[in-house]
């Protein structure tokens, strides 16, 4: 058994750590300040362009994109190391192109869709969003109501989608819709590529979320699509959607490991300096317990992430592992960030330190892509079935 990353991935990890330290963290105070005055935790178009240019120059573009499209086609195990560092910064920037839709598109596109959607996405020319949840149908896709009906040679979509990220800037939406109600989630749900300028598709409202984030609600009203908009096979949209969600869940878990590690590092640096009642905070047993427990939790989550990625790269099913990891990593990060904030006292409550924003981001991730309770249910059900 080998617990060491191959040398080239260790060097990649180092490169990404340097990128985060030299290019992302310097932008963080400004992002926190923007969030504090209520205009959102965003980066400007110029800042994004500069980061994109640096990512390209360093070869950090398309890390898991197919080699045929200029990507590096790296395995999941390499991305675990990368995303832990990317997660540490509160600057809303992921190394492009964002992996989840890439994975789903790569698994489903036909030749025409490849050149029209996937390739420009990998090149960074387009923004891809996904529309799954609906008012009243989040974790339970069987409750999905948005319908797609084939009329002649056109698909007609009707329904509402909610909690959609990037709807304000997306060029297209991978939109999940029911094509056969009787079949339910297995066999009755299909995926469609909906261009954002399609008549009948509109952004109904912007929904402000925690930490200066926002999602959107979409309305599809007699939204007519050519037959070629069907992504993958009719009725078989669920499996590639799960692949997409698994990619994001693994990514989120590793971001959470990065966040938890940073929160712990901050506490470990601060606790010996802070004196209360005649001794350093780090001399108090409670704080020592926090540190030991945090280190243990992070270590466990990291090993789980390595193992899950390793299985994924072997082509094994990771359904149970992904659920265990996503639940564990988000929950442990929540606990560790909270304790670090507690250790920092009033300073930990300020919007000058990144801790509160780390808490916001982790709080969102305990819900996004499946709440903790759903993932635990998946694990338990899987075990009880035997």
């Amino acid at each position: 058994m080998d617990f060491e990353l191959p040398e080239e991935y260790r060097m990649l990890e180092e490169l990404v750590a340097n990128f985060v330290a030299d290019h992302l963290l310097p932008l963080e105070p400004e992002v926190l300040a923007r969030e504090a005055v209520g205009v959102g935790a965003y980066i400007t178009a110029e800042e994004r362009e500069a980061l994109d240019a640096t990512s390209r120059e360093l070869g950090l573009w398309g890390l898991d994109a197919p080699e045929s499209m200029g990507g590096m086609d790296l395995p999941a195990i390499a991305l675990v190391a990368v995303n832990e560092h990317v997660g540490k910064s509160m600057v809303p920037y992921v190394l492009p192109p964002d992996s989840p839709n890439l994975r789903m598109l790569d698994a489903t596109v036909n030749d025409e869709q490849r050149s029209r959607y996937l390739e420009p996405y990998v090149r960074g020319e387009t923004v891809s969003a996904i529309a799954i949840s609906e008012p009243g149908a989040g974790s339970d896709p069987a409750a999905m109501k948005t319908s797609a009906v084939l009329r002649g040679d056109e698909w007609v979509l009707n329904g509402r989608k909610i909690w959609i990220s990037k709807a304000d800037i997306a060029d297209h939406f991978i939109t999940m819709a029911v094509t056969d109600k009787a079949q339910g989630a297995r066999g009755g749900i299909s995926a469609f590529l909906v261009d954002s300028d399609t008549p009948g598709l509109s952004v109904a409202r912007k929904i402000p979320m925690l930490g200066g984030n926002a999602t959107y609600e979409l309305e599809l009203s007699d939204c007519r699509l050519p037959a070629s908009a069907l992504l993958g096979e009719e009725g078989k949209g669920f499996a590639p959607m799960q692949l997409r969600l698994s990619t994001r869940r693994l990514e989120m878990a590793t971001w959470c490991i990065g966040i938890a590690q940073r929160a712990l590092d901050m506490l470990v640096e601060y606790a010996p300096q802070r004196e209360t009642f005649g001794s350093a905070l780090s001399d108090k047993q409670t704080v020592q317990n926090w540190i030991a427990e945090a280190e243990t939790d992070i270590h466990a989550a990291r090993l789980m992430a390595w193992h899950t990625a390793w299985k994924l790269d072997r082509g094994d099913s990771v359904r149970r592992e992904i659920s265990m990891l996503k639940a564990h990593a988000t929950e442990m990060a929540w606990r560790i960030v909270d304790r670090s904030m507690q250790g920092f006292g009033a300073m930990g409550m300020t919007k000058e330190l990144p801790l509160q924003q780390m808490a916001n981001e982790v709080r969102l991730m305990r819900i996004y892509d499946g709440p903790t309770e759903i993932h635990k249910w998946v694990v338990a059900r899987d075990i009880l079935r035997g």
């Binding site: 060097m11 490169l15 340097n18 360093l58």
Partner: protein, 250 residues
């Protein structure tokens, strides 16, 4: 022109080192290791010479156990063409390093040898100078600028009180100071390419050297802890304390 660059595996400069409890050495257990920052500057300088068309080949050499191949790979990812490891065990002192490097120079016949002025672990600052003496090659130490000029190299040196420029006949030895350049990151495509670059392993015997220790480490201990500072009431009090307590002004 062939350039030979020496790289050393050391504790990463961000690590707060600790002495072992028995005082025998620095505790390297679970500690992140990296290429010595001065060596990284040396690699960068060599790669820039190659990019400028002045150098034709850059060879990176490291002396140590198998682990130091990681630092050779880093040098290859930064742009060196091939690597050489001289396999040794345990700590190797500057004179032995200089003798081994002399052996590599005899094999490789480089026109220019670039080394860090010192490594941040031992801070000896001896290897480059010893190598100059052993090989009879000209040396330009503490370089903040290196310019090849025909069969000469002009080296601007950071010396006490200012800068000094020396002109050396090639082949020559240069040791780098901090301000010579700012090393680049190894980009991912170059990291991947480095995997395929050749890396040869030599033993000291191949180079006709018997590593012999002349130095013994007696004790490693942490520096005395700094006393807490105090706030002074006035400039007069500050001057008084500097004069009479710290005795740093008179």
């Amino acid at each position: 022109m062939k350039v030979l660059v020496a790289v050393k595996r050391v504790v990463d400069y961000n690590v707060k080192v600790r002495a072992k409890a028995d005082g025998s050495d620095v505790d390297l257990n679970n500690v992140k290791m990296a290429i010595n920052p001065f060596c990284e500057i040396a690699v960068e300088e060599a790669v820039r010479l190659k990019e400028a068309g002045t150098a034709t080949e850059v060879v990176a050499v490291s002396i140590g156990d198998k682990a130091c191949q990681e630092q050779i790979r880093t040098a290859l990812a930064l742009g060196a063409d091939r690597g050489i490891q001289v396999e040794t065990e345990g700590a190797v002192e500057p004179l032995v390093v200089a003798k081994l490097l002399k052996g590599v120079i005899e094999k490789e016949q480089p026109q220019l040898v670039i080394l860090g002025k010192q490594s941040i672990d031992g801070d000896n600052n001896q290897t480059g100078q010893m190598l100059g003496a052993l090989t009879n090659m000209a040396q330009g130490t503490f370089a903040s600028e290196v310019a090849i000029d025909g069969d000469k190299v002009n080296v601007t040196r950071e010396v006490d009180g200012g800068l000094q420029t020396v002109s050396l006949n090639l082949p020559a030895i240069v040791t780098t100071d901090l301000r010579l350049n700012e090393p680049r990151y190894a980009s991912l495509p170059n990291i991947m390419k480095a995997k395929k670059k050749p890396l040869d392993v030599h033993t000291p015997a191949d180079l006709g050297v018997e590593p012999k220790a002349h130095l013994t480490t007696l004790k490693v201990e942490p520096p005395a802890e700094r006393q807490a500072g105090i706030m002074v009431e006035s400039v007069e009090q500050l001057v008084d304390k500097l004069k009479n307590e710290a005795k740093v002004i008179s």
